[in-house]
């Protein structure tokens, strides 16, 4: 009884050291900055200071809110160690670059300088992110659509497989970026050629995985469907394709990774907009603070897109819950 009560209590409260971890880590990191970066531009220090005041403020507010909000408490219990580590890592970064000069400048600016670039160039960064998003979505959607169609055809029909598979095996493995010289010549605009390249990069894994998923549909599912009176359309759209969906999602994930790569390369070579272009442009001016700022935006952008695809999969493959561990 006592033990039970203690356990419940344990679970229902966030330990004090966990509540303090984030503000303390912030103070440590910012203190480090003040110590080592006395010569830094005051504007950098100012925005860095603002960031930490915000982190401290938010963590205090959340520490109070979690008293009344169990879901938040659960989330904090899970995330706080990670946040703490991330904040301390900023301090280490600061130490290594600005403090000890272990990495050469201007290639490795400290976190405060990167933050300053992020803030001062936010308009262009936002615009670049928007252009990247438009290009990524156009190319990805096109590639997925064509990939699904060709994958289903190759997986279902043996004549199509006979003629299509060799083509797929020979053309598919060429990295999409290797086509850039040809794409530039063939296509009417840089945007179109880049979208086409991204689509090509996505098309290969989606086709491959869809085809293998379709052709590996359990024969007994098809047999059962036939004895229920199913005709070809039912067999393809209501048996083979649903059975292939787990495989198709693997293709979608692989295609998404390939599309990020192709996007960044295509932007820095062809299209004069987007995050890939921004990075090489900033590099041209040796503004490495902006390069890192763009990398941070890319990390947030790409991982958000990846997370959205994960959410979609969790929704579509809800029937797998409990069968396999994701």
């Amino acid at each position: 009884m006592n033990v039970d009560a203690a356990l419940t209590n344990e679970r229902s409260r966030l330990p004090w050291w966990m509540q303090l971890a984030v503000p303390v880590a912030s103070l440590v990191t910012f203190g480090t900055h003040l110590l080592i970066a006395q010569n830094a531009p005051s504007l950098e220090t100012h925005s860095y200071l603002l960031l930490f005041w915000e982190i401290v403020g938010v963590s205090v507010v959340l520490s109070i809110a979690q008293l009344f909000w169990p879901a938040l408490r659960k989330w904090m219990r899970h995330m706080w160690p990670i946040f703490t580590a991330a904040i301390l890592l900023l301090g280490v970064w600061d130490m290594v670059t600005v403090g000890l000069h272990l990495l050469p400048l201007p290639y490795f600016p400290g976190p405060a300088a990167v933050l300053r670039s992020l803030i001062s160039d936010r308009g262009l960064l936002l615009d670049s992110t928007w252009h990247s998003l438009v290009l990524l979505v156009s190319g990805y959607v096109l590639g997925v659509f064509v990939g699904l169609v060709s994958g289903v055809c190759i997986g279902w029909s043996s004549p199509v497989r006979y003629w299509g598979m060799p083509l797929l095996k020979v053309v598919g493995p060429i990295p999409a970026t290797a086509w850039i010289p040809i794409a530039m010549v063939v296509s009417p605009s840089a945007f179109m050629s880049s979208a086409g390249l991204i689509a090509l990069a996505v098309w290969f894994p989606v086709t491959m995985l869809t085809a293998s998923g379709i052709s590996n549909t359990r024969a007994s599912y098809l047999d059962v469907a036939r004895t229920l009176g199913a005709k070809r359309l039912y067999l393809i759209f209501r048996v083979a394709i649903p059975a292939a969906v787990p495989n198709i999602f693997i293709g979608l994930f692989m295609g998404l990774g390939a599309s990020f790569l192709t996007l960044v390369v295509a932007e820095s070579v062809g299209v004069k907009s987007g995050l890939g272009w921004y990075v090489s442009w900033a590099q041209g001016w040796a503004e490495y603070g902006k390069v890192f700022a763009a990398l941070i935006i890319m990390a947030a952008f790409f991982s958000t897109v990846m997370t959205l695809l994960f959410k979609l999969r969790d929704r579509v493959l809800v029937w797998q819950k409990g069968i396999i561990k994701w």
Binding site: S220, A225, L228, P242, A243, W319, K321
Partner: protein, 260 residues
């Protein structure tokens, strides 16, 4: 012959041997029998005697090398909703809920809208109303097989083919399910052909038992089980049938194994 009786006439079927290309193994040779409309017939025999092949042929999933297969007076030319099939593995579509699995046959025929209320009826019939929205992997083996039965019966097939449907279940579930299948059969009087390894099951359930000999499969003997239902598994006459079939299978095994 009645519209839902089954006639198997001089059926032969061979399969290529995977290890030796160009050679064929004869699975069935001149097999003949018939099932009257509404009759429940079991097919027993040693493994590999072609029972499942026979069932697949009647389902229309395979084509015989020679011979005729008829339902009523119509020749079987391919799979159709008038011949349902239930395997040992329930083979439920894992991406569909229980309800959607049972509806599958109606969707396949494009009649879901008109017959939606029948789905409820079938869910009640197999006692699965509470699991309508569960996915197949949440079901026990017995429940999954009940869904498979309901799915096979939704289109009111004239003939229901059962390929060791209870083979993977534990002994208790198995006996309960035998009663369940009998209840469905008595309810609907669907013609049923049951392939089983379990001689007790065959005697307990069927009107008639066909005993097959292996390589190539042939119907060796037919035994009418003229016991009143519900049958008692410990009854003397039940045990007599059991002894008779066991003896016959034993003898049949020796004969097949003996040098000619």
């Amino acid at each position: 012959m009645d519209a839902s009786g089954v006639r198997v006439h001089e059926i032969s079927k061979s399969f290529p041997v995977p290890d030796a290309p160009g050679t064929n193994r004869l699975a069935l040779s001149g097999t003949s029998f018939s099932i009257a409309a509404g009759e429940l017939v079991s097919l027993v025999g040693p493994s590999g005697c072609g029972k499942s092949t026979l069932l697949r042929l009647i389902a229309g999933l395979d084509v015989p090398d020679s011979g005729d297969l008829l339902v009523g007076s119509a020749k079987i030319v391919g799979p159709s909703a008038e011949r349902g099939l239930v395997f040992q593995d329930p083979n439920l579509f894992p991406w569909l809920t229980v309800r959607r699995n049972i509806e599958a046959g109606l969707v396949a025929l494009g009649v879901l809208r008109e017959k939606r209320n029948e789905v409820d009826e079938f869910m009640r019939l197999v006692g699965l109303e509470a699991f309508a929205n569960a996915y197949p992997h949440h079901l026990s083996g017995g429940m999954a097989q009940r869904v498979a039965l309901a799915r096979a019966l939704i289109n009111h097939p004239k003939v229901l083919l059962l390929d060791e449907p209870l083979g993977a279940l534990d002994a208790f579930t198995r006996m309960r399910m035998q009663d369940e299948v009998l209840r469905l059969w008595e309810n609907r009087r669907t013609t049923m052909l049951l392939v089983t390894h379990d001689i007790d099951e065959a005697i307990y359930m069927s009107d008639r038992i066909l005993i097959m000999t292996p390589t190539p499969g042939r119907i060796d003997r037919q035994i009418d089980i003229d016991l009143a239902r519900p049958r008692d598994r410990t009854d003397d006459s039940f045990l007599r049938f059991r002894g008779e079939i066991l003896e016959h299978l034993h003898f049949a095994g020796n004969a097949a194994g003996a040098p000619a």
